[in-house]
Symmetry: C2
Subunit: 307 residues, 2 copies
Amino acid sequence: MSILAVGSIAFDTIATPAGHAENVLGGAATYFSLAASYFTKVRVVAVVGEDFTAEHENVLKKRGVDTRGIERAKGKTFRWGGKYIENLNEAKTDFTELNVFENFHPRIPAEYQDSEFLFLGNIHPTLQATVRRGLRAVRFTGGDTMNFWIQGTPEELGETLKLVNILMINDGEAKMLARETNLPRAAQKVLAMGPQALVIKHGEYGATIFFRDGAFGAGRHPFRAPALPIDEVKDPTGAGDSFGGGFMGYIASQPELNREVLKRALFYGGVMGSFAVERFGTERLQSLTREQIDARFAIFRELTHLE
Amino acid sequence: MSILAVGSIAFDTIATPAGHAENVLGGAATYFSLAASYFTKVRVVAVVGEDFTAEHENVLKKRGVDTRGIERAKGKTFRWGGKYIENLNEAKTDFTELNVFENFHPRIPAEYQDSEFLFLGNIHPTLQATVRRGLRAVRFTGGDTMNFWIQGTPEELGETLKLVNILMINDGEAKMLARETNLPRAAQKVLAMGPQALVIKHGEYGATIFFRDGAFGAGRHPFRAPALPIDEVKDPTGAGDSFGGGFMGYIASQPELNREVLKRALFYGGVMGSFAVERFGTERLQSLTREQIDARFAIFRELTHLE
């Protein structure tokens, strides 16, 4: 099944203890699409500026991503600069230039109307809701958000959460959204806002999925997938979005959606995140094979598997 | 097999979002011994003051812990006060009164000389080394340490690490000890200092065990046990020491020491840590059954188990 991904395409300038990179292709939609492309067909809706070249687009096209939904606007593409110093789990932002992204109003090409899976990247919750409502064929929606919307547009976000099947956020965002410091209790409060399941991303410690009672035939217990301890973390940028791409890509590739599928999807999410951080930008995600991905899946499984 | 545990007994004054407790029995040796007592016989070596009553001692005795190694000194027992505010993973210390613990020189009763398993709690590394060297029958030593010794007595700690089979510390301590912010690389550096394996405790995210090449018949990959997301964290004090007690207690209860045993031990460590935090002080650890422990072990296993 095709996934439609809506979100940012950006040029990132990144410094980490392992080196630095300038104006490399990034953005949530880019990482998500590349990661998901190893599992299923991906369609992307985003906006770029005049500095986005055919070469940049080819990074996506080579992975079979349908780029007809990338709108070209006058001006520059979204740019972000940040560094990771001591803590590879958290970037210190140097600059954010929204550029053409500031006025992004996602337009869905007619050819995308039959999409059954939708990923709503981190944009204004009202835009997320509009996209979702405009797509009749969608039967599963994954969504992301961030502190900026949790604090700034809580009501709009509340409306969007009712339209999302699985929300994927990190520990800090979950606690802020629920106004609750205990993670499992925060998860229950977020689930009460609408989603059937909540994926909380723990960075280098993996991710946990919490289920609403009865959702996906799930029992009452959450499920946790570890992240592989990686010797060479070159650049953590995009790890969370690559996680999302692996997670949703695997789901979209399966004939059924049940608890077992979601468990394996959580592991595949971790696998794609672990590849993403091994090189700067999207480099590692451009040239993987499904065999490499499945080999790492087996290692992740072994990492916590008791006979 | 009997485990000999050397470490602190303390009275703790604790405040958490769930409430507070004053002068409750605590200390690393106490949590460790109670947790380990569900798996094997435990002997404890510690020092207490005149304020340590028969009632306090009975908490340990009721769990079958051999308390003949508890020395009574003139003065007061070690006291610690702290609070957990936003972050349940980290205490803010209000006061530390070492009292009789300041001059603690562990004396091993003759009846303990045949101990084959030794846990060296967080005391001066030279004292740890002296205890280890004085025990001829020991064939497996687990050790703990903390930032204070890592920074203050690095050479003495280096000597002790050569005598320890498995070191159990947290993320921050491992990174400080190795002077390395990447966790897997930090782990390799710590292993090069002596231990055959290193357990890194991640608080609410579980723990990872890293192996020296070939140690315990282990492959090159680490192993990770998750912690169960706990709805009701009343008091995180002693979670790490309870983890250690479950981990070493299980190891000591097994006829062989190999990778599979260490994997299950890591899960049992998480189980005991998860019980400890459900009540203030040692309350929860005083009245468990092995059935309850194994039921939670099964939940932990399910938490990350893929078919």
